[in-house]
Subunit: 391 residues, 2 copies
């Protein structure tokens, strides 16, 4: 492992996707003097459109658009996982531009069954599951996993889409059909987990090594992450165990880049790896201010082959609150009182989305605190003060 590095000022980082994750990664690439290009939707309103002149509009998961980016860039990364490993592999091969995370890594996580098998084979606990291909299997799943259980399409699900909780054979049949099981899509049945908390760990990894961010606690509402508490309010041993599992998971898929790993903490105190994301993740936004190197800095470092920066906490605790859109119309960030009256830190991020919609991720803010509960209490007060609304 070499510790030296070089970055030429004309270095071009290509990002597949034009959303807020790409945008926040760009700020860090800019800081290193890099240029950033992005594949964006044809709408012309993606958050990336405002922060770089190098925009490649088109089908954001299609070969043609990705090739345009690849021909421009020195290295390519991504901000979402709704991409096809085969397409990524072809783009990498045809353009000669490396893609990180690699198509090989992508192949292991783009399919939930393969992903779970990979992690399980590496000794990382996951919820029990089985592939179901029809009525008999759905029944067997009930017997093996217990009712209710969760049906998931192997490919393409996110934020609860592509999932169905089923309580009996009849619901299972309907769920199976809804998820495309009868149309030939692979569906898995997974046991329901009674969890006491959801935890998450970000890991950056490349040829220089791997670093884990502090284990955080995530709070979801309607399958969307709304709050992240750092560090997670669990025993230190458990947090460290979670961080070790996350690094092991990154190794299991030979991940190069930034990865988010979400865990269930079960009633029995067991950690189960639930989901992985091959990119910066909402649960890591707190790191922008709360850590000495943010997930976006290490994302850029990891995919560009630079040594990783240690992500130490700058304060005892931090809480991130997602600003979900309120109402429809032109977006306005508003603060109804001065947020820093009490002289504590509050860091606001707006993603530059021009149009607000109810529940749309429009921005986030992070507050620091002496401990997680104090930070959370303060964050919840500010939640009704700092908002992004449609007008």
């Amino acid at each position: 492992m070499s510790s030296a590095f070089e970055v030429k000022a004309s270095f071009k980082l290509g990002i597949i996707g034009g959303g807020q994750l790409a945008r926040m990664s760009s700020y860090q690439a800019f800081r290193m003097g890099m240029q950033v290009g992005a594949v964006c939707s044809p709408s012309g309103t993606d958050p990336m459109e405002q922060v770089t002149p190098h925009i490649f509009r088109g089908d954001v998961s299609g070969y043609e658009t990705l090739m345009e980016l690849a021909k421009w860039a020195d290295v390519i990364t991504l901000e979402n996982e709704f991409l096809d490993a085969d397409v990524l592999a072809r783009v990498q091969k045809d353009s000669g531009t490396p893609v990180y995370p690699s198509p090989e890594t992508f192949r292991l996580i783009e399919n939930k069954r393969i992903e779970k098998e990979t992690f399980s084979d590496a000794g990382i606990p996951v919820a029990r599951f089985m592939v179901v291909s029809g009525d008999d299997d759905l029944k067997k799943a009930g017997a093996k996993l217990g009712w209710p259980y969760v049906l998931k399409s192997s490919k393409g699900g996110y934020d609860g889409y592509g999932n169905a909780m089923v309580a009996n054979q009849d619901e299972a049949r309907r769920g199976f059909d809804k998820l495309g099981g009868n149309a030939g899509r692979e569906v898995i049945a997974e046991e329901t987990i009674s969890f006491v908390k959801e935890l998450a760990v970000m890991v950056a990894r490349n040829e220089h090594g791997a670093v884990a961010y502090p284990c955080v606690e995530t709070i979801q509402e309607n399958h969307i992450c709304t709050r992240v508490i750092t560090p997670a309010r669990v025993d230190r041993d458990l947090r460290e165990q979670c961080e070790r599992l996350a690094i092991k998971a990154a190794e299991a898929i030979d991940g190069k880049g930034m990865f988010g790993f979400e865990f269930f903490l079960t009633e029995e105190g067991e950690l189960l790896l639930n989901e992985s994301a091959p990119r910066p993740h909402n649960s890591g936004h707190y790191s922008i201010e709360a850590c000495t190197a943010s997930q976006f800095e290490n994302h850029v470092r990891a995919v560009c082959g630079l040594p990783l920066a240690e992500p130490n906490m700058r304060s005892n605790a931090a809480v991130m609150i997602n600003m979900l859109g309120i109402g429809s119309g032109d977006a306005v960030l508003s603060c109804s009182e001065r947020p820093d009256t009490d002289n504590e830190e509050v860091h606001i991020h707006s993603y530059g989305k021009l149009q607000c919609r109810d529940g749309r991720k429009m921005g986030h803010f992070t507050v620091m605190g002496e401990n997680p509960d104090a930070a959370l209490e303060r964050a919840l007060k500010l939640e009704s003060i700092i908002q992004i609304k449609g007008r």
Copy 2:
């Protein structure tokens, strides 16, 4: 003073100038969801060119180019002071777009004589000076201020350009001519100050109030700032006195925006205001990581009429080192050893300048420390490891 605020997502910040200060301010504007436009040189290689699609190329101090920016923007600010207050006033009037710092503020600082009179009238100590308009005055200046003294053109000097140290009548005559005195340019003679340290304070100010950054110690080589030590290694009382004077100076010129004030600490322990800059300043770069709100964040907040953020130190001390270009050619940021081996923070910024030249400001890095001396010792070690070179 209202503490509430609003920022619409389509808010457009216009910056006159395409250099690194504009670039670093942009990152903070982006974070608030804003769009950024910049007046750039026709070269197409200004640092701003890579971080926004909204570029207005042309004469960066000319009415026509500034009007293009003004018609696009909701508010205009700047990154250098080589602008004419009259032009700014016309642009503001003709476009209806507010300019901060205001043309009125600019009028008070664009001319060194008026600037010094303004500060002096406000009770802020400055070096003794007089206007010189010919041989007689040059002689009188020698008698009044003592030899050697410094001749300065009232308008347009920076980083030592536009200054001449003169030790006798003969040198004074030559200096006066070189500075355009015989061609009608206003020249002032200023006493030489034997200073023990150079100190600087950044101040953000707008209708919501004013905040001062910690008093820092700057080290210049060949009239270019190379190192900044925070806090300055002087008594706490003196630092606080310096911070109070800086706020008073910002008030004296009714400054709205971000301002840098440079002071001499004389052998007698007196503080003299030496220079002012109506913009983010090299001596404030440390604040990006060392403070809870950087000078660039407060620059954006100040000119956009948002409440200012308290700039508290995140660590006991910090040192910033300018990375001046080494050699000519394509710029390459290089690190010959891993800089974070000892697990302390080092934050590297490269400005995205494609071409390196000897002595050109190409980037900077900041390190933290338990105290100023420890941070400086570490920074000086890293100075030979982290460099930007031409190739």
